[in-house]
C-alpha cells in the first residue's frame, strides 16, 4: 500500500512538472465562456426571482367613461369566477401614484389636467391569460387591456433559452477540452517515446507507464478550470464597476455575484474529469504502438 501510494505520488509530481502553461490557458479561456455565461444567468435568475410573477391584468377604461360605467364594469368583474382579485384604481389615485415617481411630478404638473383613465387591476385564477385579456377587452367602456407579467414571463423564457445555449456551449467546449487534452498527451507520449520504450524493457507495467499521463490530463483540465474561474471573476469585477453606476442611479445596491462555491468547484472537477478522459483516449491509442524492438 505504501509503495502503491509512493508510485502515485511520483506519477503526480512528474505530471505536474510537465504541465504546459499555454495548454492550460487555452482550456481556461474556452471554459470561461460557459462558466461566465452560467454566472450571468444565475444573476439574472436571482433578479427575476425577486419580481412578482403573479400575472396581473390591467384594464384601462375609456377616458370619457363615467364613474357609474366604471362601477358597472366593477360589478361584472367581481362576479367573474375566473378572477381572484379585483382592485379599482380611480384616475385621481393613479395620478397621485405617478406623481410619487421621481422626476415625473413636474411633467404631470406641466400637463395641467389628469391624462389618466380609471383602471381595474385584476388577478386571474386561470392560466389562459391571453384569452381572458381578449374577453375583458371586449367589455363596453374598456379602452385597453394589458397583461403586466408578460414581460417577466418573456424574461424567464429568454433565460431558459440562455440556459439551453449555455448547456450547448458547455458540451461543445467540453468536447474541445477532451480533444485538446488528447492532443497534448499524444505529443507528450511521443516526446517521451525513448523513456517509455526503456521502461517497457526493464519491466514497467502498462499501468505504471500510463499513470503520469492520466494525472497530466487530470491536472491540466483542473488547472484550466481554475484559470476559467479566474477569468470569470476578473470579468465580473470589470462589469460590476459599470453595473454599480447603473444600479446606484436606480437607488439599488445590485451587483453581479460570482458562481456559488459548489458551482465553482463543479467547474474545476468537471474540467479535470474531461481532461482525464482525453488522456485516457490518447494513452489507449498511443501507448500500445510503442514497443521495444
Amino acid at each position: 500500500m505504501n509503495a502503491w501510494l509512493r508510485q502515485h505520488r511520483q506519477a503526480a509530481i512528474a505530471a505536474l512538472r510537465r504541465l504546459g502553461v499555454l495548454n492550460t490557458a487555452v482550456i481556461g479561456v474556452a471554459l470561461s465562456l460557459p462558466a461566465g455565461g452560467y454566472a450571468l444567468l444565475e444573476n439574472l435568475r436571482g433578479m427575476t426571482g425577486r419580481l412578482e410573477l403573479d400575472t396581473q391584468i390591467s384594464l384601462y377604461l375609456q377616458p370619457s367613461a363615467k364613474r357609474a360605467e366604471a362601477d358597472a364594469i366593477g360589478r361584472t368583474l367581481r362576479a367573474d369566477p375566473r378572477l381572484a382579485k379585483v382592485r379599482f384604481v380611480p384616475r385621481e389615485q393613479a395620478l397621485k401614484e405617478l406623481s410619487g415617481v421621481q422626476g415625473l411630478a413636474e411633467v404631470i404638473a406641466a400637463l395641467g389636467r389628469n391624462p389618466l383613465p380609471d383602471a381595474f387591476v385584476v388577478t386571474p385564477r386561470t392560466e389562459n391569460v391571453e384569452q381572458l385579456s381578449a374577453e375583458l377587452a371586449g367589455l363596453p367602456g374598456v379602452a385597453h387591456v394589458q397583461a403586466d407579467a408578460a414581460w417577466a414571463r418573456r424574461l424567464a423564457a429568454l433565460a431558459n433559452i440562455g440556459r439551453v445555449a449555455i448547456w450547448l456551449l458547455s458540451a461543445l467546449l467540453g468536447a474541445g477540452l477532451v480533444a485538446v487534452t488528447f492532443n497534448t498527451i499524444r505529443l507528450q507520449i511521443l516526446t517521451q517515446r525513448a523513456e517509455i520504450e526503456v521502461s517497457k524493457l526493464i519491466g514497467a507495467t502498462d499501468g505504471f507507464i500510463r499513470r503520469p499521463f492520466y494525472y497530466m490530463g487530470l491536472f491540466q483540465g483542473a488547472a484550466g478550470g481554475i484559470v476559467a474561474l479566474g477569468i470569470v471573476a476578473a470579468g465580473l469585477g470589470l462589469l460590476n464597476r459599470e453595473v454599480r453606476v447603473l444600479a446606484q442611479s436606480y437607488g439599488s445596491g445590485f451587483r453581479l455575484e460570482f458562481l456559488a462555491p459548489g458551482d465553482a468547484l463543479a467547474v474545476v472537477v468537471f474540467a479535470g474529469l474531461l481532461g482525464s478522459l482525453g488522456a485516457q483516449l490518447a494513452v489507449a491509442r498511443q501507448l500500445r504502438e510503442i514497443e521495444p524492438t
Binding site: 509503495a3 509512493r6 523513456e195 520504450e197 526503456v198 524493457l201 526493464i202 519491466g203 507495467t205 524492438t293
Partner: protein, 216 residues
C-alpha cells in the same frame, strides 16, 4: 534457466531469422552467442525477453513459456532479466544516477533503499564518482557500463548482452566483459552475443555458434 526447443522465428515479410534452435542454459552458466551479423543473434536474445515471440517451438525462461505469456505478464518476466544493448538505450534527460534508479521506481522499494542499491550498482561498474553526470558526458565504454548498472540494479537472475562491446576499443571491451564475468561469478546466468571471436576465445566458455538460423 533458459531453454529453447526447435525454435523458429519468421518476421513479417518472410525473413527467417531462426530456423530451428535448441539449447538450454543452466542457472549460473555463462555462454556466448556468436555468428555473422544477420545470423539471428539478436533475435535469439529478444525471444528470451519476450521482445519477440517465436513463430514455432518453445522458449522457456524461469519455467515460463515465453511464447504463451500474456501481455500483462511480460513486465514481470523482464524484471528478472537484465538487458544490455549495443546502443545502450540510456535516457539523456536525466543523470547517471537517475538512469540506474529507473527500474527501482516500480519495484516498490523505499527511496532510501533504492538509492543505496543504485550506488551499489554504480560501484560495481566503477561509475560511483560519475553519478551526477549526464550520460552524454560519458565515454562509450562508460555508457556501456552505465547500461550494465541499470540492467543489474534490480538483481535479475539473467543478464543478457547484445553486442555490448561493439563500437568499443579493445581495452574498454575487455573491461565490459570483465564486468559480465564478475556478475556470473556471483551466480547470475549470463548470455552475451558478440561477433568478436578473439574475445570469446580468451574466456574459453561455452559458445553457441549460430549459422543460417541453426546452432552449428
Amino acid at each position: 534457466m533458459v531453454s529453447f526447443s526447435a525454435v523458429a522465428k519468421r518476421y513479417p515479410g518472410g525473413q527467417e531469422a531462426l530456423k530451428s534452435v535448441s539449447f538450454s542454459l543452466d542457472a549460473g552458466e555463462l555462454a556466448f552467442v556468436t555468428g555473422r551479423s544477420g545470423a539471428g543473434k539478436s533475435t535469439l536474445l529478444k525471444l528470451i525477453a519476450a521482445i519477440e515471440r517465436p513463430t514455432s517451438g518453445s522458449v522457456i525462461v524461469n519455467g515460463q513459456n515465453v511464447g504463451a505469456l500474456k501481455r500483462a505478464a511480460v513486465p514481470y518476466l523482464r524484471r528478472n532479466i537484465g538487458l544490455v544493448f549495443q546502443d545502450q538505450k540510456l535516457l539523456y534527460d536525466r543523470s547517471v544516477f537517475d538512469n540506474v534508479m529507473l527500474p527501482l521506481a516500480f519495484s516498490g522499494l523505499p527511496p532510501r533503499e533504492a538509492a543505496r542499491r543504485t550506488r551499489a550498482a554504480l560501484d560495481k561498474v566503477g561509475l560511483l564518482g560519475r553519478e551526477k553526470a549526464n550520460p552524454i558526458q560519458l565515454s562509450g565504454g562508460e555508457q556501456q557500463r552505465l547500461a550494465i548498472a541499470r540492467a543489474v540494479v534490480n538483481r535479475p537472475g539473467i543478464l543478457i548482452g547484445d553486442e555490448p562491446t561493439a563500437n568499443l576499443d579493445a581495452e574498454s571491451a575487455a573491461l565490459i566483459l570483465e564486468v559480465f564475468v564478475g556478475f556470473n561469478q556471483v551466480g547470475v546466468t549470463v548470455l552475451i552475443a558478440t561477433h568478436d571471436r578473439s574475445l570469446v576465445e580468451r574466456y574459453g566458455r561455452r559458445v553457441l555458434r549460430l549459422e543460417e538460423g541453426r546452432i552449428a
